[in-house]
Amino acid sequence: MLDANLYEEELHPTPLMATWREFKQRHVAVFGLVILTLFIIVAIAGPVLSPYAPTTQYTNMLLIPPAWDDNGSILHVLGTDALGRDMLTRLFYGTQVTLFSSIVTVFIALGLGVAMGVVAGMSKGLRSSFINHVLDILMLTPTLLIAIIIVAILGTGLTNAMLAIGLALVPRFVHLTRDFVREEMNKDYIKTARLDGANLTQVFLYNILPNMVELLIVQGTFAISVAILDISALGFLNLGAQTLMPELGVMIADGLSTVYIAPWNILLPGLTIFLMVLSINIVGDGLRSALRNRLTH
């Protein structure tokens, strides 16, 4: 007798598993994912992991270089800044602040953008074109200008910076959503659903959205990296987070005043931002390739 179990063991991977299998094959992407996970762990568990508090000033140990330097000390593995605050701790808290604020900003921008994009994609005519136009202008305006205006109206601070960056990111998601929705609306399966009696909301929630999720995840990842760069740039310029908050851009600006005798005050926070953004970009790129290729292999 032939063993009929042969066919039952054939593996039909779900889309998620297929994506992961594709993703796994690119070693660089996995490496990026590992680093990103490390950052996320630090961001969540930072306060528990860090040896000191970020605002305590050890006034007898100012400007100590990192431990591998001759003048360094193992007590402060990555050195201290000009006020005697431990660098490693500040990096942990800084990662937390920067990463979380970027993620929150992108989530909100995503939510708003998708909502508006759906409305724009499903409707036609003057209303949609007007919204589009305003959003286009928003998209064309340099992010820094938007931030300057928001700061002029509302004042400085991390939340206002997040608001400004969020505003700058919304048009991107609106476009994405609107293009996607428009394209999908012409497809057969949507027409079937509508013939079945679904109204627009149900069509969106149950048909379009599941197909859109992956696209949103990829674009959201890139948006997070952009948000990190922009929020830290605003922190650096003192338009976002202010000088007493452990935010990575602010730390770089603070370190400028002692750059010649203590360059690690600039190098280390900048390196952290760089690695965070790089790992997110790698993961996003890997995801996108995986999504594109999962069906062809």
């Binding site: 605002t55 305590t56 000033q57 006034t59 007898n60 100012l62 400007l63 000009a82 006020l83 005697g84 000088t243 007493l244 400028l256 005043s257 002692t258 750059v259 010649y260 005798i261």
Partner: protein, 573 residues
């Protein structure tokens, strides 16, 4: 697809690569013609660049006590009747070639120097030499409320009003074209010293008339005309100021071809520019970098004890800071030594009183406040200050000799106050906005200080803590104590130094008891400059002087001449 790409590549690869390589080589060649090591200084035209730390509020030091304004104009654009010798502090002839004081000390007669010429620029040409009319014009501007220029540019004259000179000077008379007589109401042993400060500059009366005629009186403070070694050429806010040599300067000293103030607010960038030789000397070098500068063979570091004090002033006009116990409690909460360490990097001495130890008015047995947080908390409780009390600490945004980093000091103080359950907020603005708001009394406390304008100890007491100094804005503690005023006002009338010292000792004790301000440090003054710069010395009695300063430039071609302009061979006393 790879097959297709292969076919396409076989053409593209080599040709494109070749193109790229040629491009990069060309780029490299282009860049390397511009990159030689000494090309920054050897090919530039002659001149001296000074990195200053912020914008001047105007070009007339009469209107402002800020050292930024004085740095630009006091010794560059203007001269005054008397000058200080920078090494001894003695008073020397300036535009006044000689002077006499009457026996009762009330009448001062000045003989003015002849053949002194004012600047000639593209906005004004003088047609006469300096004479007594200019002196009268300059003095009456701030003395006389009805003078046509008194209110021009909303002028206040903070230095003069803080000393109440308007009520000390009875009259100024023109005896003849080159002789002036000044009468005082009462004796003032610091009067001559006050005439030699940065602020007592001499303006051009002819220029004043000209501007009145052309209905542009406000230009007198922004397009200045004086008798100093340099004349004004151009100013771009936040960028630079360019001054050119006054070819007919009355002193026979070498002057550089161009004097540029490169406005650079960040102290570490000023230092970096000194190293890359984009600046020849810088303002307020950071103490932290002094050791590195000393190691660089191209940089010369000079040090001199400073006549200054950095302090933490409480706004005694605002409750609860009007209670001495509250102020004392706050003062007990902080540890001055750690501030000296963190902010001054041990290049300052701990201040026990307002006046530095190098002055003859210093008394050694002053009772000083020591770090005692427990006692601090007790006093604050007794005065009714609850835990979690909120106050503001205003930190000045600019660097000064007496406080190189007010922001850092504020952060340190904030953490000390947090340890006694006081919640402090740090406030700062850009310098001019900051001072405007301080004048309005918006602060609870402020970190600021004072650099003396002359060697007389009166210069510390009256401008900082007398009642008259409140409207002029130099009394940041907003403190008005009639007993204190009586002490210092009596002291300036006596010429005997010992007797004055006793009065000042009483004043010191009063300050230590009432604590309108907490003196923190007396900073050493440093000067760092490019080794090629000649003739620049530290001026402890005023702002920087560029007359006689030249730079030796190693010139590769004979056409680049050395940067000295010798002027005006004869000077008749």
């Amino acid at each position: 697809m790879s097959e297709l790409a292969n076919r396409l590549i076989s053409f593209n690869n080599t040709a494109r690569l070749r193109l790229l390589v040629t491009f990069f080589v060309a780029l490299f060649v282009a860049l390397s013609t511009g990159c030689t090591d000494s090309s920054i200084s050897a090919t530039a035209p002659a001149g001296v660049i000074y990195c200053s730390e912020s914008n001047p509020s105007s070009f007339n030091p009469q209107l402002d006590t800020s050292s930024t304004t004085a740095d630009v104009s006091a010794h560059q654009i203007y001269s005054r009747l008397l000058e200080f010798d920078p090494s001894t502090g003695r008073i020397q002839p300036g535009l006044a070639s000689s002077w006499l004081v009457s026996d009762d000390g009330l009448t001062y007669t000045f003989q003015l120097r002849r053949n002194v010429k004012f600047h000639q620029t593209d906005y004004f040409t003088p047609t006469r030499n300096f004479n007594a009319d200019d002196v009268i014009f300059s003095f009456q501007r701030w003395l006389n409320d009805d003078h046509p220029y008194h209110d021009v540019n909303d002028a206040t004259y903070p230095y003069f009003s803080s000393l109440n000179l308007a009520h000390t000077i009875a009259s100024i008379e023109r005896i003849n074209g080159y002789r002036i007589e000044i009468e005082l109401f009462e004796r003032d042993s610091s009067f001559l010293a006050n005439l030699a400060t940065d602020f007592a500059v001499i303006l051009s009366q002819q220029y004043g008339e000209y501007l009145m005629l052309t209905k542009q009186p406000e230009r007198i403070d922004f397009y200045p005309i004086g008798t100093g070694p340099f004349r004004f050429d151009e100013y771009q806010k936040n960028q630079f100021i360019r001054l050119l040599p006054h070819l007919q300067y009355w002193k026979n000293v070498p002057l550089t071809d161009q004097l540029i103030y490169d406005i650079t607010p960040s102290s570490s960038i000023r230092f970096a520019k000194l190293r890359t030789r984009e600046c020849d000397t810088i303002a307020y070098p950071s103490q932290a970098e002094i050791t590195i500068m000393q190691a660089d063979p191209n940089i010369v570091v000079e040090e001199a004890p400073g006549l200054n004090v950095g302090f933490w002033a409480f706004n005694t006009a605002k409750p609860p800071f009007d209670q001495a116990d509250v102020r004392r409690g706050l003062a007990l909460a902080i540890d001055k030594n750690s501030i000296l360490d963190a902010v001054y990097f041990n290049s300052a001495s701990r201040a026990r009183s307002l006046i530095p130890p190098s002055s003859w008015a210093y008394n050694n047995d002053i009772k000083e406040i020591n770090y005692n947080p427990m006692r601090a908390r007790e006093l604050l409780d007794k005065a009714g200050i609850a835990k979690g009390f909120r106050m503001t600490i205003w930190a000045m945004p600019v660097v000064r000799a007496y406080n190189p980093d007010a922001l850092r000091m504020a952060k340190l103080i904030k953490s000390y106050l947090a340890a006694v359950d006081i919640d402090a907020t740090i406030v700062t603005y850009d310098w001019n906005t900051f001072r405007d708001k301080l004048n309005q009394g918006e602060h609870d406390s402020v970190l600021i200080g004072w650099s003396a304008d002359n060697g007389d100890p009166d210069n510390f007491y009256r401008p900082l803590l007398s009642c008259d100094a409140i409207p002029s804005g130099t009394n940041r503690a907003m403190w008005c104590n009639p007993e204190f005023d009586a002490l210092v006002n009596t002291a300036i009338k006596i010429s005997n130094e010992d007797k004055r010292a006793i009065l000042y000792a009483k004043a010191n004790n009063m300050i230590a008891k009432e604590i309108p301000l907490l003196p923190i440090a007396h900073a050493n003054r440093y000067q760092v400059k490019n080794a090629a710069l000649q003739g620049l010395s530290i001026n402890p009695y005023g702002s920087i002087r560029f007359e006689g300063v030249t730079k030796t430039v190693p010139s590769p071609t004979p056409s680049v001449t050395s940067s000295a302009v010798v002027v005006n061979d004869e000077v008749r006393p």
